[in-house]
């Protein structure tokens, strides 16, 4: 490859210089005529001859061309380039390095088991990350190896940290076959509806039943003779009653955002939280943390601090009563399913004491009261301790 150099020769007699260059048989191109000087590209071997024979002219090298220019630039900036390359290599190494492996499960033995298994497969702290397919095959092999202990396993790579989420396999191993059962009342009440899918209904609508009474019989009888024993099934809804005692203060503090918000930074190591900057919110505040990244086990958060003002509300007796009954209703509603409902409610007693209101309430609820109670065929209508235990577990 020809090595051209851009040069500038200062001379008022440009034509004379060109003639002299021509006599020297030099190869020059891209000649540009500037004031009192001539600028052109010349071959490096020709430049040596020019310098040798035209000593009266001052030759100034301006620039290199092509690959030589690149070489020159690289040489000039070698420290910066070396630094960048080094930084890129360090970045690549660090971004592919595992600094921590977290197995997310409450059972420490299972955690250790997973960590040990991962170690055997080359996934350890300060080792390089593996590809998605490799992780998939590791997951499959661990699941296969511990198929009696692991239900589900997931490896989640978050930056330099690997989170292993694991679900333990729970095997229910009941030795006995409890295939015969009654549906009995779990609490006292008045039957409101009964649906039998298996067995014989023993009660009718509006019947009062006590706790433990058989509602749907698993023993099918004909003329007082047991013809078959089945596991009774069906749903029995009854009106049941609750006495509820509740209280609440007559004054309440409500926190409201003022609209003022300031940013801050927070680092978290384990359960220790440290706010990096001084808070610019005076007084009451509400904090919202936004996760940024995690490095060497330290989590970095952007913190949004909202200024809040506290408003004190003082209820009168009527308002407090209304609020308290609503609270009781809400709490009870949480326990009820779609077919269960509150039928009636009544405040039996109320009392104001020490700026608090206390009430006793009577609540009537339409509720599913039928639960399974297992029995052995030979000992019909009786249940042993194990049966009861199993029944409780089911319920």
């Amino acid at each position: 490859m020809k090595h051209y150099i851009l040069v500038r020769i200062k001379t008022p007699k440009k034509t004379s210089l060109l003639l002299k260059l021509n006599r020297l048989n030099v190869d020059i191109k891209e000649i540009s005529y500037e004031k009192d000087c001539l600028k052109f590209l010349i071959l490096d071997k020709d430049l040596k001859r020019v310098k040798k024979y035209l000593i009266s002219f001052k030759v100034e090298i301006i620039d290199e061309t092509g690959i030589y220019k690149l070489k020159k630039e690289l040489k000039k900036n070698n420290l910066i380039i070396t630094g960048i390359i080094f930084a890129v290599i360090i970045f690549l190494i660090l971004s592919n390095l595992i600094v921590s492996i977290n197995v997310i499960h409450e059972d420490s033995t299972l955690r250790e088991l997973i960590l040990e298994s991962l170690k055997e497969k080359g996934v350890t702290r300060l080792s390089f990350k593996k590809s998605y397919d490799e992780y998939e095959s590791i997951i499959e092999s661990i699941k296969e190896e511990y198929q009696d202990r692991i239900e589900w396993l997931e490896i989640d790579v978050e930056g330099m940290v690997i989170n292993v989420r694991v679900e333990e396999r729970i095997i229910n191993d009941y030795e006995k076959d409890y295939s015969t059962c009654h549906i009995v009342a779990s609490k006292a009440g008045v039957i409101k509806s009964i649906t039998t899918t298996k067995g014989v209904a023993e009660v009718s609508i509006n019947d009062y039943v006590a706790k433990g009474d058989i509602l749907i019989n698993g023993s099918i009888k004909l003329n007082d003779e047991v013809k078959a024993n089945v596991c009774a099934s069906g749903s029995v809804y009854a009106e049941v009653w609750y006495n509820v005692s509740a209280n609440m203060p007559m004054t309440e503090e409500i926190k409201k955002d003022t609209g003022k918000m300031r940013y801050n930074f927070m680092i978290k190591k384990g359960t220790d939280e440290t706010v990096l900057l001084k808070s610019r919110i005076k007084g009451e505040k509400r904090v919202e943390n936004i996760y940024l990244f995690k490095i060497f086990g330290i989590e970095f958060y952007l913190q949004k601090e909202y200024e809040v003002e506290v408003e004190k509300i003082k209820y009168n007796e009527e308002e407090a009563m209304q609020k308290l009954t609503e609270l009781v209703r809400e709490k009870l509603d949480l326990k009820l399913d779609n077919f269960e409902e509150i039928i009636a409610e009544k405040v039996l007693q109320k009392e104001l004491k020490n700026n608090n209101i206390y009430i006793d309430m009577f609540i009537a609820v339409r509720e599913q009261i039928g639960v399974k109670e297992y029995f052995e065929e030979s000992r019909s209508d009786t249940n042993d301790e194990e049966h009861n235990e199993y029944t409780n577990r089911i319920n």
Binding site: L18, N22, I31, Y33
Partner: protein, 80 residues
């Protein structure tokens, strides 16, 4: 450019070429540059001397046997 000229030279077996463009002149295989100024350029070719007259004449590129000149060419003559 030179590759093409070499190829043409090889194919046609010519001693020299003179190409005239809009405001430049390309001479291939001249023997000597006899004179050079803003208004006159004289080139010795094998069989004649090429005299180029014009205004603001200048050489854009040159080597031992090839030259590209620019400027307003008014007249071109061959001196034998």
């Amino acid at each position: 450019m030179r590759i093409m000229k070499n190829l043409q030279n090889f194919l046609y077996d010519q001693e020299y070429f003179i190409d005239i463009f809009q405001n430049c002149l390309h001479v291939y295989y001249y023997e000597e540059l006899l004179s050079l100024s803003d208004t006159l350029i004289e080139l010795k070719l094998k069989e004649f001397i090429l005299v180029i007259e014009g205004e603001d004449l200048s050489i854009s590129s040159m080597d031992k046997h090839e030259m590209l000149m620019k400027g307003k060419i008014n007249n071109m003559r061959f001196k034998r």
